[in-house]
């Protein structure tokens, strides 16, 4: 064997023996939030990252850099990725950890497809009382914790304060005057339209069913309606549900809202100051804050984000959240230890994730000056205590949301009467839940 061959053989041997020494435990993470390798593929400085994708990618890069003994393999899936996850579970090849909406946890937990992580949290030295009550409730099922909550999200009032001032709906401290009852909301909306010539609300009413449903959940919770008395049965033929739909319909019929806008159209409509209040999620906080800082923008210095106001007796909001959950499969002790380390890292860096606009799941972030000094966060902190999801045992919440959203839209646009739409929504949801 000549010298060249010896060197090649030595190099190959070195690689083969070195690889396990560098990273002997692999964690397969599966997540949504998109891919942004072009911008953040190698970034390990999380403070320099922006947006869900950028911050999540940088967090994982940083974790890998700090833990050379753990190799992270990331699979990015199209939002929300549950078809793929279910297929992986059916073929017994799920990832080690996967991002999941809290509202979806019951679908997998009830079939033992994901595992409780209480012992791992203990191993990672994370106490349950470190989580906000809303975040913890979102991941708790039958007394056990089924995911590491990373945030709480909700729908917000994204307010154009310039237009609100024009409509004389602004308080002395510069905050927008928000309604405290449905009647007051209608009167404010009429006043807004009269003074500005623009609709009070910007809503997503085309190609989307979630927005109306989330709004309805919030107002049902505010009326203390026990609409999911048991997790497999919904009651929508109620006075409370009728109140809400009548209110929505009045807003629609009087042209106090934008119409025929899909999601992107409504997002750009707010940027272009085409209405007073956009009803959309907290994930748009960063985008609109940046937009309102541009002198050329139609919302320059004219943006405020507020939680949904209390229109009825109860102070409640519908919320959901994102979590890391652990699919049910056999794991080595090393892998469990690596998972605990990952949980600890994500919990410790919850502030960085909260920069996305999502609300923190860790209580200590709420009092962190870095967090409170972020735009609009102080106004939104109450969401972490006022927020409620649907009862933990309710399954197929995405499908339920679609059904209710479709039926609400039918009632509001006049295709069905309110009573008929609520009856159909109730029957369709109960049919779905009754056949699981």
């Amino acid at each position: 064997m000549n010298r060249k061959h010896s060197l090649i053989a030595l190099a190959i041997m070195s690689c083969l023996t070195a690889a396990p020494a560098i990273a002997d435990t692999q964690l397969h993470l599966q997540r949504f939030f998109g891919a942004c390798e072009a911008k953040y593929g190698t970034n390990k400085d999380v403070s320099k990252a922006e947006g869900e994708c950028g911050i999540m990618t940088s967090l994982i890069n940083q974790f890998e850099a700090k833990n050379p003994d753990i190799e992270i393999k990331v699979t990015t899936v199209e939002w929300p990725g549950y078809d793929q996850l279910t297929a992986q579970m059916a073929s017994r090849t799920p990832p080690d950890l996967v991002t999941m909406h809290n509202s979806v946890i019951s679908d997998y937990q009830s079939r033992q497809l994901i595992l409780p992580i209480d012992s791992l949290l203990k191993k990672a030295d994370i106490a349950l009382d470190e989580f906000t009550s809303t975040a913890l409730n979102g991941v708790k099922r039958e007394g056990e914790v089924f995911g590491l909550p990373i945030d709480t999200w909700t729908m917000l009032y994204h307010v154009n304060t310039k237009l609100m001032a024009q409509a004389e709906l602004i308080n002395a401290d510069g905050s927008p005057t928000l309604p405290s009852s449905p009647e007051e909301m209608l009167s404010m909306a009429r006043q807004f339209k009269e003074k500005t010539g623009k609709p009070y609300l910007i809503q997503i009413l085309s190609n989307e069913t979630a927005a109306y449903t989330r709004l309805m959940y919030t107002y049902l919770l505010q009326q203390d309606s026990n609409f999911f008395a048991d997790a497999s049965h919904i009651s929508l033929q109620t006075k409370e549900a009728r109140n809400i739909l009548s209110h929505f319909k009045a807003i629609y019929d009087e042209d106090l809202t934008t119409k025929n806008m899909d999601y992107p159209a409504s997002v750009s409509a707010f940027s272009n100051a085409q209405g007073g209040i956009l009803l959309n999620g907290n994930w748009l906080l960063g985008t609109y804050t940046a937009e309102s800082n541009k002198a050329t923008s139609a919302i320059y210095n004219a943006y405020k984000a507020m939680p949904y106001p209390k229109l009825y007796d109860n102070d409640a909001l519908y919320v959901d959240g994102h979590s890391w959950v652990m699919p049910n499969k056999k794991r080595s002790d090393d892998k469990l230890a690596a998972t605990a380390k990952f949980f600890k890292f994500m919990a410790d860096n919850d502030f960085e994730w909260s920069r996305t606009g999502h609300l923190p799941s860790m209580k200590n972030v709420l009092s962190n000056p870095d967090f409170t000094s972020l735009p609009h966060r102080t106004e939104l902190m109450s969401v972490t205590t006022r927020g409620q999801g649907l009862p933990g045992g309710v399954k197929r919440q995405f499908a339920v949301q679609d059904i209710i959203g479709e039926e609400i839209a039918s009632a509001i646009t006049g295709v069905k009467t309110i009573d008929a739409a609520l009856k159909d929504a109730e029957e369709r949801v109960n049919d779905l839940l009754g056949n699981l």
């Binding site: 939030f33 998109g34 891919a35 942004c36 390798e37 072009a38 911008k39 593929g41 947006g51 869900e52 994708c53 990331v74 699979t75 990015t76 899936v77 199209e78 939002w79 929300p80 078809d83 793929q84 297929a87 992986q88 059916a90 073929s91 017994r92 090849t93 989307e208 899909d262 999601y263 992107p264 997002v267 750009s268 940027s271 272009n272 994930w283 985008t287 937009e291």
Partner: protein, 300 residues
């Protein structure tokens, strides 16, 4: 001199309405004679509009598009969205996967469909008609109806996340068998008889005599199979769950940054154009065969 000039100017003034009338008449006649062409041009523009719109979106920054899609109609334009695609290290892997799967599936569909088509058209064997009908019944079974069972079988065989797992389901191609059978039937049997007289066996007749005559049908079937495989989304979504095994359709979908993609519209559009490029090339180079495929497939 100036009088002369004035005279010629007035002549021109007098003539020009006649000229314009005659031009209008000619144009009117041309319109009358080319009504069909005009309708086709209008329809083509209608078909092309979404594609051009997507190209326009892909050349705009995401920030501009967030303020409104009308930004497409004015400067500045940028290639940054395309540059971002090339900086995603996985895109070329997904492209290669799509090519491997599409070419592999096309190759095997052509072989299997040709052999089956020959057998049904030329050979006699027990239950031939019944088997042919059973195969054709496959045309009426939607993929969704068998997807669960198929997924379970592939799980048991540990074939997910493999090229075989992606290619194999596409090989059951009842349309291919039907198409090739019809083409083989259309070839005069005298050619077989002549080859038999020259001592050719069945396979030699198939390979040397009949198969070359079915090349137009092969092109038709090949193109349709390639296009179907390239655009497939459902099966790769649940079979290729490892990122390295994603095909382009799945990979690009996974890159979307939020559920309504309002913040990355330009990037999304550039990805759509990028993934369509191979198909556009296939259309450009095999246009004639595709037209034959679509027209012939219906007639045969």
């Amino acid at each position: 001199m100036s009088h002369l000039n004035q005279a010629s100017a007035s002549e021109v003034c007098v003539r020009s309405p006649e000229k314009s009338i005659s031009w209008l008449q000619n144009f009117g006649m041309w319109l009358a004679n080319n009504k069909l062409l005009l309708v086709l041009i209008a329809c083509s523009l209608l078909m092309l509009a979404p594609f051009l719109w997507t190209v326009g979106l892909s050349l705009k920054s995401n920030q501009e598009l967030m303020l409104g899609a009308s930004a497409v109609f004015h400067f500045p334009y940028t290639l940054n969205n395309y540059a971002d695609i090339f900086q995603n290290s996985q895109v070329f892997r997904w492209l290669a996967n799509s090519l491997i799967v599409s070419i592999g599936m096309t190759f095997w569909v052509l072989i299997l469909s040709s052999l089956a088509g020959y057998a049904f058209a030329r050979l006699e064997f027990p239950f031939k008609k019944i088997i042919f009908v059973i195969i054709l019944m496959g045309l009426a079974v939607p993929e969704q109806a068998v997807i669960m069972a198929r997924h379970q079988i592939f799980s048991a065989l540990e074939m997910h996340n493999s090229y075989v797992g992606l290619i194999l389901p596409g090989l059951s191609a009842p349309f291919g068998v039907f198409l090739m059978t019809q083409f083989f039937k259309a070839i005069p049997p005298e050619l077989d008889e002549a080859a038999t007289l020259d001592n050719a066996n069945k396979f030699q007749i198939f390979w040397y005599v009949l198969l070359p005559l079915t090349l137009p049908a092969q092109a038709t079937l090949g193109i349709l199979t390639f296009l179907t495989s390239w655009n497939d989304y459902f099966w790769p979504l649940i079979s290729a769950t490892e990122q390295e095994m994603y095909t382009l359709t799945i990979g690009i979908a996974s890159s979307q940054q939020n559920f309504a993609q309002s913040e990355g519209l330009g990037f999304l559009a550039s990805q759509a154009i990028f993934s369509a490029l191979p198909i556009i090339l296939v259309y450009i180079f095999f246009q004639k065969h595709i037209v034959t495929a679509v027209a012939g497939g219906g007639v045969k």
